[in-house]
Symmetry: D2
Subunit: 380 residues, 4 copies
């Protein structure tokens, strides 16, 4: 890791996350901003999926703001955290969601092992302080990641990339992973145990997720602490709270750069940081707005049974009633029959959150992801 | 070619344009609509570039209209004319502009040889009728294409596909090839010798192209007749007019299906056919609207010198003054410096007609195609 | 499912496993060969991964043989079982291992739920016959798959494809899934509970796999029966054996068609079927040959830490000693330094079974898969 | 261009040929080796097509040799000259022949304009020395390339890359562009006017090409000088010879790295340089071997009319008689009929030089490229 000093408050370093076929390091910039004041550590990365670029603009605006504003604690910004994914073009678009060699999703190789938490719990005594537990636990996770990275037979590219990022993220109290949907509203994934965070962001759609690890950064960051809290609560019969939170923020649509929207998203994040006492100004706060929530099990994917060419008839965020037309599918081989145009209707009341970005689909394509059985978290 | 009867007025047949790796024929549907009345032959195809799907909707609407309306002459509709290109996905999008095996543009393998026209001219006498010349010339082109297709060592996939389509198109008087731009206005390519056609379509942006063959269908259809006319004019000192026209119509953006817009585009084509006395109704006519024209040499491509992530700041169709910001390019590796965001400005007064569809670009990417030195063809 | 009669002994039908963007069904041929004699059902499919084509040649030879030879039971042959994967070209090669839209491995969407076995066990009484249990259990699996396929919101393409194939495979006693490695020896995956099958194939390298389901066809076919046997053994204290076996056979390298090798592989499968009393001839039997075995946990992947251009210095099947050079990696950016060529050495004694098929690799690429701690199953 | 001193005889610099989506320069290393002695300039580049990597090994060996041997003139080595193409993976292979955004072949954007030669000829007087003409002509080409690169609206990526390389190559007397075929023999493209060079390489198959420019580096390097020679010969009636030669060397198969073979190829190039008085040793000379030649018009491509799965039955370099089976094509959809396996036979006596690298092909795929009507240039 090389290190550059941008100013007395801001450092910029690079970590080499991969090497390409030309033998060159692929580096990720890491900005650290601190005024040396006590406070939490915040980790924010963007573009782990290569086509999801708008988070980079959000970080751009955050960095401009941080250049001239004092903060408590430390903010770590890691834009363009996947230089492999960003730079794989297939046709005019970016093939950014998975490794083109083997199909591995770039956001599924982070580290978490439940057994390790169980073993750690044995080492905790009732009188150990929160601070001490937190420090020891963090050190243990850090060491496990380092061991994984050092293993003899090597590791796959996506996993190496993920673990090198996680080595930084594991130091943080609050972790934000900035993503985009295909054609999408702004929405956020929130662990159920940190449900109150929903009203700390200015994001209209919130998905509450359980303590299940499927490889993503947010899960890798919150599962250990959630599991540890639960185990200690049970062991000692009291409520532990380590205050570690991690979120995946979906900042609109992929393949779009919009500086004005990015500034709003940066302000939304500053609003969240304001609730954590990171800012020295009163200028930012969560918006007063309608927020809708849904449990992950009610966040449903609508697949098409037909192959064909699709008109998306409802917009992300729109309230759709059961039976309304969501898509019209043209069958170019049957233009003269009544199979020429088929309609796909909403199977229940729902809100589409995102839809597929291409008009041409095979059968079994995920056309929409939808809120069903959603509920109101706050009113505007 | 198998043949199905849809009704007494409409037939549907299939031509096998390719065979896939499973050994199965890839068929293209060919609809022929005729009331047995005298009149011109019109050939309309769509989606030679796989991601350019909206033309299929236009043909869908044309077919609905033709089902219940009498016409002079014959209309031939060939939707989804490239079943290979339509079905190559690379990530979520369609890799439809070129053969993924070798990069060959699907719209560059049609047939035209200037020498053949020159030789044909020798066979024409001053007293030969237009009808006879037209028939003999068509037969000769047809035979040349058949010879090419039959050659001993075989032909490349794109060229085979093109020639099989051209075998049908060559029979037509008016040829319309329906395309889409990346993110694009509606615009049309018009051969200079058929300039008046500009006002027969209801399309705001018209590009006038010279008698140069670069492999595309429109060129392959008009170059022979244009060259023949010029040669006969010179040989006999009188004005020959065979009345063959061919156009590439760009019906908005790729990767979009929109039934309502498609109906408008179908009506625009019916307006053109009205000027050719194909329709029995007075309901359709070219719109009274502003139309702007440009010569191909003034239709300029703006490339970026930077790699980065791009915000497209001007919309297709918008009038832009020299020096206005057209794009902002984020350099994710320099967010803290003044290289973090660079602006690309208009090198002269221009109208962007289309822009690149992805936010992530390497240096040397074609960001915009623009009208410069354009002129007014008609006023609204 | 349409049905064709090839002969009184052989039928050919098609199942539609998907629909492409042109709205056309993608069909898979299903051959059923039977002489109406009692015996087991054998299911053999090939090319679930599109670039792994040699299994199709094996099925071709099996079909030729079956045309003129009597068998007990029924053989079901499903060549080219993934018409989507086979037909996705990316450059000159076939992008066949995963769905190009979302990276989903085509061999990870089959159905198995352990809970269902547990519930079924409750319904079994000590006096129920093996035949009856087998029949009821099969019917239950079949129904579960049908339910999954029928669900309201639809299913992803790979999963639909897998489940439609599994609906046929579930009827079989012996299931063979024909694959290829990248550049590979012939090897076979064998469930530990059917370990003896290792000597029934004429394949030199055998990998023994535990009762763990990760989505593949072989696992989906043997896990239910293995789990059921274990549960009934425990419940009733006696040894149940349903005689259901499933294997993944790796028939050499991908992107290769070789008719002579395919005939040998077909004969190897006939040798296996001979041990199951399917054949009426004594002409086929497992070969007398050296066979080596390894447990899955000792079948190791060797990744590269460098990006660069790779010479593969050891051949699949070769015995390699700890410390021998396995690969030389050229760093094109450091040709003048001693970093210009780096060597990757064997971390222990091993046999490489397959290696990556391309010379250009990023760091984290899986260069080799290797037998370590292997043992001899039979001697030549 | 940054510059590093490797030793007093060898310098290494980098030219930035592109910028990726992360805003980072993609650099190409340029080695210059000279002992300050009079002699020709030799330019050697490799891997303009990303999957054609073996030329990098050849340059590696050349560089090792040049480190410890004195030469006349200067050798310029440019390995891995296309860092974009090398690093585009699509599945396990490298999508290296064309820009994945638009299909542009990476070897078609070099500069040559015949008109410019014609205009230059006017400026030459009968008494101007060869040296002076050569210098002035080179300066003119150099300036034209610089002008193209500097133009206002920008240039496409492949063309920029090509022109930046050509700016170096244009200074050379002998230009070698190292390529590979798909699965291929070693062969070389030789301009007809430099036909004698055929026996200066140790390469068995030689293709003689006319004075036609289609965008490749060798053409861009020899067409101007060939055209100039012809024009001056005609103008002044005497034989001008500028001694500029350019070749495309096809060093075996793509996607293969082989250090031992690379050393042989390096020695073959040293043999060529020996004939140009570049070496101070007698150790290298063209091999005594059989060499076969063919005119480009007799170097034929054999396409398949069927789609299917292909066994390549003849090896590159093998002498094949008219009517011999060259390929067997499996039709996986017709395994039970006599269409199940079709044979493709040689249309005449020929030598296949290369074949397609994948077993799965659509109709219209280039299966083989073949010498026909070839002749012997030298005997072993």
């Amino acid at each position: 890791m090389t290190k550059n000093i941008v100013s007395s408050r801001i450092s910029k370093s690079y970590i080499a996350v991969a090497q390409n076929a030309s033998g060159r390091n692929l580096n990720v910039p890491v900005y650290r901003i601190s005024d040396g004041l006590k406070g939490p550590t915040i980790y924010i990365q963007s573009s782990i999926h290569g086509a999801e670029v708008q988070g980079n603009v959000v970080i751009y605006h955050l960095l401009q703001w941080l250049k001239s504003n004092t903060i408590n604690g430390e903010v770590i910004l890691v834009p363009n955290c996947n230089p492999v994914g960003t730079n794989i073009k297939a046709g005019e678009y970016t093939l950014g969601r998975f490794d083109p060699v083997n199909g591995t999703n770039w956001n599924r190789g982070y580290y978490y092992e439940k057994d390790q938490v169980t073993r750690f719990v044995e080492s905790v005594t009732e009188d150990e302080s929160i601070t001490s537990i937190k420090e020891r636990f963090r050190a243990q996770i850090d060491k496990s990641i380092a061991n994984k990275l050092a293993q003899n037979w090597g590791l796959g590219l996506a996993q190496q990339l993920n673990l090198k990022l996680q080595q930084i993220a594991v130091q943080a109290d609050y972790v934000l992973d900035l993503h985009n949907g295909p054609v999408s509203t702004r929405h956020v994934y929130i662990p159920e145990y940190a449900k109150d965070a929903a009203t700390a962001f200015s994001i209209p759609h919130c998905i509450f997720i359980p303590n299940v690890f499927a490889g993503a950064l947010d899960e890798a960051c919150f599962c250990p602490w959630w599991t540890l809290q639960d185990a200690l609560d049970e062991k000692f019969g009291s409520a532990y709270d380590f205050g570690v939170e991690a979120f995946t923020l979906e900042m609109g649509s992929q393949e779009v750069i919009d500086f004005a929207e990015g500034e709003k998203d940066a302000n939304s994040i500053l609003g969240y940081l304001a609730t954590k006492n990171v800012l020295h100004t009163q200028d930012y706060a969560p918006a007063k707005m309608q927020r809708l929530g849904v449990y992950l099990s009610d966040y449903k994917t609508l697949f098409t049974d037909f192959g064909g060419m699709v008109e998306y008839c409802v917009a992300p965020g729109q309230h759709v009633l059961s039976g309304e037309v969501m898509a019209r599918i043209l069958n170019v081989d049957e233009l003269e029959t009544d199979q020429g145009m088929q309609e796909l209707r909403a199977p229940c009341d729902l809100i589409p959150i995102l839809h597929f970005p291409s008009a041409s689909v095979l059968s079994g394509t995920q056309l929409y992801k939808c809120f069903t059985k959603y509920f109101t978290l706050s009113e505007s």
